[in-house]
Symmetry: C2
Subunit: 144 residues, 2 copies
DNA sequence: CTTGATGCAAATGGTTTGCATGTTT
DNA sequence: AAACATGCAAACCATTTGCATCAAG
């Protein structure tokens, strides 16, 4: 089941949409691949990308992420307070995050299966839950 | 089951925490009550509050909302891009939002009950889902 | 009277944009 | 060459903050 998405896969998907393949897009995708299931902010990506090419401007990272999101390759998550975070769309998952200590539990992509069924049946709504975050208290903090 | 929350109820909850009851807090709570299940942005609230008292500054609305959120009376819903939105905590609910047309379906506060149980059992995580948003396509847009 | 709340103006910080230039196709 | 992407600097906008003043307890 481990879909091994490669950089070339992703670039090919871009090309096939008519989007151009540029240095910035290649580097950003490479970094998101390297990030695995971790999330990256635009600035976090910029820092890493700069190690390979210091010319890439932060504004380009933002524009690049927009394009990648539009192409369905990248998911923008974590709108809460600070900076938005991004990860590859191939990395479907959800999170339970501790309000107190920030601990993160990863939930499988089917965590909302029952709810999805219910929305379909009751409202004809085709839910596509992407990176939903459930707040609460982790085992440690709830007892503390 | 219709908990009728009154303005005085809410103010009393504030007092009992030791927070002061001020003009701004009274007016903001009144507007949130009047809003029913609709959400209001800080500016939306400011506009309405100004009809009763033009002296209340926008920054005060923000500070007020912080306090009210801290007191557990108000929930900050912060949708995707623009400004954060707020509503009374007594109005617990979640949303399914159509990616295409923006249609909103309200979900009852217990929509995640099963998941909450599972997180507790499997991880000892005490989930408190607050205003979770599930993206997808509404009945109209999915067929279009 | 003491502590906390507010008005105001100015700062912040993440993100976006206009435009001239460089790059991909 | 044509269309598009980028660097840069400047604009944006929601939100926050410092400080002197004012109001609630």
């Amino acid at each position: 089941m481990g879909h091994h998405v490669t950089l070339d896969d992703l670039l090919e998907q871009l090309r096939s949409r008519g989007d151009r393949v540029t240095v910035a897009r290649r580097l950003v995708l490479a970094e998101l691949l390297a990030a695995g299931s971790e999330h990256r902010t635009a600035e976090g990506l910029a820092d890493r990308v700069h190690r390979r090419d210091p010319e890439v401007h932060l504004s380009t990272i933002y524009r690049t992420l927009d394009v990648l999101e539009g192409a369905g390759l990248v998911v923008r998550a974590g709108f809460g307070d600070g900076a938005a975070t991004y990860h590859l769309a191939s990395d479907h998952h959800h999170h339970a995050v501790c309000d107190s200590c920030g601990a993160v539990i990863e939930l499988p992509s089917d965590a909302f299966a029952a709810l999805v069924r219910r929305l379909d049946r009751d409202h004809g709504f085709a839910a596509r839950p992407r990176h939903v975050t459930i707040p609460g208290l982790c085992a440690d903090c709830r007892s503390a």
